[in-house]
Symmetry: C2
Subunit: 212 residues, 2 copies
Amino acid sequence: MARPQGRSSTGAPDLADACSALPEGLLENAARMFKARGFASTTTRQLGAMAGINSGTLYYHIRNKEQLLFLVCLTSMSRISEAVHAAVAEVVDPLERLEVAVRAHTRSALQDADMHATMLVEMRSLSPESRARVRALRQEHETLITGLIEDAQRAAAIRTDIPLKILVLALLDLINWAIFWFSPDGEFDIDELAHDLLEIYRSGVLCRPGDA
Amino acid sequence: MARPQGRSSTGAPDLADACSALPEGLLENAARMFKARGFASTTTRQLGAMAGINSGTLYYHIRNKEQLLFLVCLTSMSRISEAVHAAVAEVVDPLERLEVAVRAHTRSALQDADMHATMLVEMRSLSPESRARVRALRQEHETLITGLIEDAQRAAAIRTDIPLKILVLALLDLINWAIFWFSPDGEFDIDELAHDLLEIYRSGVLCRPGDA
DNA sequence: GTCTATAAAGAGATAGAC
DNA sequence: GTCTATCTCTTTATAGAC
């Protein structure tokens, strides 16, 4: 009856520990089902079946269904943040920092497409406390991106005639929602897509005078 | 016991009729709740309460909960298609046709933000038959946009070094998902946002040599 | 056209054996 | 760590009165 995960409902004191204690692949499978059917329509019986266990057994590993969603959201955001931080760490040129950040974010979001999609649309299904925690992570990341764009503006690399907030959110729209139509089995691969989306964001779709 | 709406489950023989038979504002309120809590988590009791009626009474007007979602999706897509068709009708220049289409789509999506957001994320909650019908409308619209971009490419107005499919989907990402962060009470208005998003899609965010 | 009452099914979560 | 069994609650949808 002792529960290994323990701790308070809002806390992910150590995300890696909390997740590694789970049955192998539970989180990824849960994310896939949450994306396909929605959180509310995914039953604990289905979640258990995917992990090869009974619905009752699930409650040895998690406190409740919502905690699974919470872990999916935390994992998704942590991975993206980590990827972007690592990418910009070695770069100094402001425009280049923005570019490597965009590529890193895009790759991470597409790699964890199910988790990231779930985070984007199912935050509403979290308890207010959990939602606030995930929202804080998203906010932190948005602030980072905003800072990168601002720096590039100061370096006269990014236009200033469009509100900063719109520059940021347009970028996130472009990246984040590609995961809903991207398929790893499709005609494009992740790097190609990351490149093309960045190129559209950088330069737009118009032909320039002098283009081939 | 006679149900006014009648007809087959897939059919929206006349969408306007089907919706005008509903209690005033039911569709809009349903869309708002579906967006806020998700379709599965919105109960018929809540839906009834918003319309000022009992949950049982709801079933005098609709066949089941899913039909309400179906009508929301149909309405949302119909309005966007109509707006875009009307916008391009009077314009001949290929690039200009694309531009007025984008502005019309953006305005329509933002005006019916709750319905359109619901359509985008809750299509998965429809029955296979209803989902196929909505998907067909979306596909039709995507085909229209694809054609506009292709025409502009043939007129040497749009670049051809990025796959057509990515040009289309990037555009739709940019427009469609803005409705999740746009607020009519916020700092931007619809026309401003429509203009800025189009401008980013057209020209990108980089400064050009010679910019102020 | 709306009500009350309720049938029927399914959900999340727990208990206790192994 | 997993199972079976089950409690309790909520849900959609229907029936029949008004």
